[in-house]
């Protein structure tokens, strides 16, 4: 298959106008499981997890808009300050 053909097929699929055979072909490609699994160390995984979460927080700004409520012990200690 040539790149142009693939491009047209993907465009038709994304527009919801693909033929059933094309639809099957693309869905099968999406369903194939790659046996060479992604292997990352635990440290890198945590780093990546926090990095993506920080990006999400920057885009959605939810920590600013909906700040986390303080835990109960912090609420209690404020009375004694």
């Amino acid at each position: 298959m040539k790149t142009e053909v693939l491009h047209k097929k993907i465009l038709r699929y994304l527009d919801g106008q693909s033929m059933p055979a094309e639809k099957n072909q693309i869905q099968n490609w999406l369903s194939t499981v790659d046996k060479s699994n992604l292997q990352v160390s635990d440290e890198y995984k945590i780093l990546l997890e926090n990095e993506i979460l920080a990006e999400i927080q920057a885009v959605t700004e939810y920590p600013t808009l909906y700040p986390k409520s303080k835990p109960w012990w912090e609420k209690v200690t404020t009375f004694f300050e």
Partner: protein, 172 residues
């Protein structure tokens, strides 16, 4: 690490109350599966990161419009599949990674590769995967050095063995 056993559905319901803890818990549960799926398709850490980020941003933005019986896992998977295709499409359009498309994406559309999608996952594949991820390695290493009795005889513990044992007991 603190474990949270709250079901996904409860956490999704809490999103309506703008519960950011619930959102982060959902993110921590699902991000890696989505990342590894998009990485397996695109072979690009940057694109995979971008897809995961966009999917979760979209979840947060749509939290007030989610249907009642909303299945988070299916929604996330559908969104990632769509994003992967859009990413491939944009790569083709930009013509920047022709080599990547020809070497990585197009071979995946051969009938032989597509046939794999219809094949069920075999036990040997699962064992091979576990071996590769070093789940079984400690057992293999230990069995070579010091063999315990259960390691020696565990292969005999099957239905046939149990049947024979019960028959012997009945005769006795």
């Amino acid at each position: 690490m603190r474990r949270n056993f709250t079901p996904d559905q409860t956490l999704v319901d809490r999103l309506l109350l703008h519960d950011t803890d619930a959102f982060e818990e959902l993110y921590r549960r699902h991000w890696f599966a989505l990342y590894s799926y998009s990485f397996s398709k695109l072979k690009s850490p940057d694109d995979s990161k971008m897809i995961v980020r966009n999917v979760f941003c979209s979840l947060w933005q749509q939290r007030e419009h989610l249907p009642v019986n909303f299945s988070l896992a299916s929604w996330l998977y559908a969104e990632v599949r769509k994003s992967v295709l859009e990413c491939v499409n944009s790569k083709i359009e930009s013509m920047a990674e022709d080599f990547f498309i020809e070497r990585q994406i197009i071979p995946g559309f051969t009938p032989k590769e597509l046939y794999k999608a219809r094949k069920p996952v075999s036990t040997s594949d699962v064992i091979e995967k576990a071996r590769r991820t070093e789940i079984l390695t400690p057992v293999i290493v230990n069995s070579g050095s010091k063999e315990s009795w259960w390691e020696k005889y565990y292969h005999l513990a099957n239905i046939k063995g149990l049947k024979n044992m019960v028959q012997t007991m009945m005769n006795f």
